[in-house]
Amino acid sequence: MGALQLRDVCKQFGPTKVIHNVSFDVPDGSFTVFVGPSGCGKSTLLRMICGLETVSSGEVMIDGQVANDIPAARRGLAMVFQSYALYPHMSVQQNMAFGLENIGTPKAEIAARVGEAARMLRLEPYLSRKPTALSGGQRQRVAIGRAIVREPRIFLFDEPLSNLDAELRVDMRAELAALHRRLRTTMVYVTHDQVEAMTLADQIVVLRAGRVEQVGHPLELYNRPANRFVAGFIGSPRMNFLEATLAEVQNGLVVAALPGFGLVPTNRLASSLQPGAKLTLGIRPEHAALAEDGVVVGQVGLVEQLGGMSTIRLDQPDLTVQIAGQTGLSFGATVRVALPRHVLHVFDEAGLALPAAPAAPLAT
């Protein structure tokens, strides 16, 4: 078991409130990722869950039990720290065994659990080495091993891959995903890297400035971002945003006026908005298309050829288009870009996404 619930959790340091009424559930067995820009409070939230930080108000519940006042060591959680926090004067074996010795686990069982974890993480040849004699990836695996042997209800990861180089990070990501498939234990993972979040999570919690912006499956966040912030944060390259106004409402759907270019029909419900209201149109670079009849006209400011795909950037308006394959376009060329209505996001003046029309077919 290892379900986690947060109810109106707040955190204050003196007069500064850094976490504002956060509530969400982490189902048992899920891989939940907290993602957000640095300073959004995601690490603080993780430290409150594991008990290294007090909860100012609200409740942290583990398996239905309020854990606010339970000391960190007795919450049955294990944490993998950003710097790994391996004990530098102990061997790999001792590092993994230390926590079990503390709670008086029998020697034979310690040996069995450490052996099993070492085998699983391919650490057997290094058991008698000190952490300084290991590579970054090996240290990372020792830190995970130290968590595994405790057989925790929930694993907590605090940006565990940020100290590794890019290539190793991809490998470790795959290993973590495999580990989760195998152990089926709940994992809570903090990162600022949305790619890590998208690839690892079955549930993402997007945080900004101590508030939850959206909780959901990775593709749900990609397809139906709740607001402009989530839309811009999830997905790479970043979503394009174009300022527009509400020109008219047709069958309840928004028709936007893009200054200088004309009318853009959308699939979004206007709700109570009146013509003239300020809007932001959002379109992902991979959804924008070069087309003869495209509504936006602009000059190419930059072309990035990646071989398998190409990115074309317009200066006026600021718009990025990503196309499959290669392109013959070069700097200064005039292009027209279409904004297909079924992939066009619309946000109101407050940045909230307008809901999609319920019956609107996804394919045109």
Binding site: F13, G51, L52, T54
Partner: protein, 346 residues
């Protein structure tokens, strides 16, 4: 900030260990700082105030009053007899009898047994302890000796050590590493060991009873060279190369580029040097034997030998000796702590 508050030892609530820790620190502060405070308070007590036993915390002295035609007289409070409750001035004391007058009516003598009156005490800081030091002794001369030695030795220490550190960190010449090791090796030879031969050398160079006898042996410090060299190693060599491209001479590179950039390390060494020279005792005691060449610690030492009864001067002198160091400490506390923590030297 968040981490500072909560990360340590991870206890989330204020418990008995926190109380015990603060209690220990408060008591410790009392032991560490209390004696200095006591010295400060005592130093402004008058000679008679110092003799009071048990001692008073604040400086008191017997009140005096100007009585016409009788001069300045000590004031007493009468506790018995018909004048009880009055404050009278004592004209003279004859055995167990005291002759007093009422300051308002100085013509009439009043005779009382001495146990019928107690002195009237009032708060009074005896600053004259300090001013008299300068008027009654050649104290200015001693202060000057200490200041001269401290300032000149520190300037020379910074110059000579930084030059050596510059060469050892930025030049490649055969023998450089041996020179560095040799200098480090001198860390193993504390001045105590070479007291006798150093005295011979100082006397042969005519340095005895001269401030230069204290200054010269102190100017080359292995600690200073080491500290500055380690710092200069962190300055990029490209700086020197860029300066050479600008046709700067090597000497100019040293004093226009390297020295200003090394100012944090130089500041640490300067603080150390000031402390060392200002407080130094054994070597000056060997090399300076005439009292007019004494530094403050030497003067204090000889003073306490000769004038054990004159605590009011001795205490004032002690306060004057610790004052500059205290001032430096108050201003530069953070730097001193960091310098010591990083260099591991004193």
């Amino acid at each position: 900030m968040a981490n500072l508050l909560t990360a340590r030892r991870g206890r989330l609530r204020w418990d008995w260990t926190d109380w015990a820790a603060h209690l220990y620190l408060v008591l410790g502060t009392l032991v560490m700082f209390g004696p200095v405070l006591w010295l400060g308070l005592s130093s402004v007590k008058s000679e008679s105030g110092l003799q009071a036993y048990p001692p008073t915390i604040l400086p008191y002295e017997q009140a005096r009053i100007d009585v016409p035609e009788r001069g300045t007289l000590k004031l007493f409070h009468v506790t018995q007899g018909e004048h009880a409750g009055q404050d009278l001035a004592e004209v003279r004391r004859l055995g167990l009898q005291s002759q007093l007058v009422d300051p308002a009516n100085p013509g009439t003598l009043i005779r009382l047994p001495i146990e019928a009156r107690t002195p009237v005490m009032r708060l009074h800081a005896a600053w004259e302890n300090f001013t008299d030091l300068f008027s009654q002794f050649s104290f200015a001369r001693i202060v000057w000796n200490s200041v001269f030695i401290t300032v000149v030795a520190t300037v020379l220490t910074l110059l000579v050590n930084s030059m050596a550190a510059f060469a050892l960190s930025k030049y490649k010449f055969s023998g450089r590493d041996q020179v560095f090791l040799l200098m480090l090796a001198t860390l193993m030879i504390p001045p105590t060991i070479v007291l006798v031969p150093n005295y011979l050398i100082a006397s042969q160079l005519g340095l005895t009873n001269s401030p230069w006898g204290v200054i010269w042996p102190a100017v080359a410090t292995p600690t200073g060279v080491f500290l500055l060299r380690q710092y200069m190693l962190t300055l990029p060599d490209e700086l020197l190369e860029a300066a050479r491209m600008d046709h700067a001479s090597e000497w100019r590179i040293y004093w226009r580029i390297i020295l200003p950039l090394s100012s944090p390390a130089l500041a640490v060494l300067a603080i150390f040097s000031v402390m060392w020279r200002w407080n130094e005792f054994l070597w000056p005691m060997v090399v300076l034997s005439r009292s007019e060449s004494f530094t403050l610690p030497l003067a204090l030492n000889s003073f306490q030998g000769e004038l054990t009864t004159q605590w009011h001067f001795l205490l004032a002198m002690t306060v004057l000796t610790l004052l500059p160091v205290t001032a430096i400490f108050v201003v530069l506390q953070r730097h001193i702590a960091q310098g010591i923590a990083s260099a591991g030297v004193k």
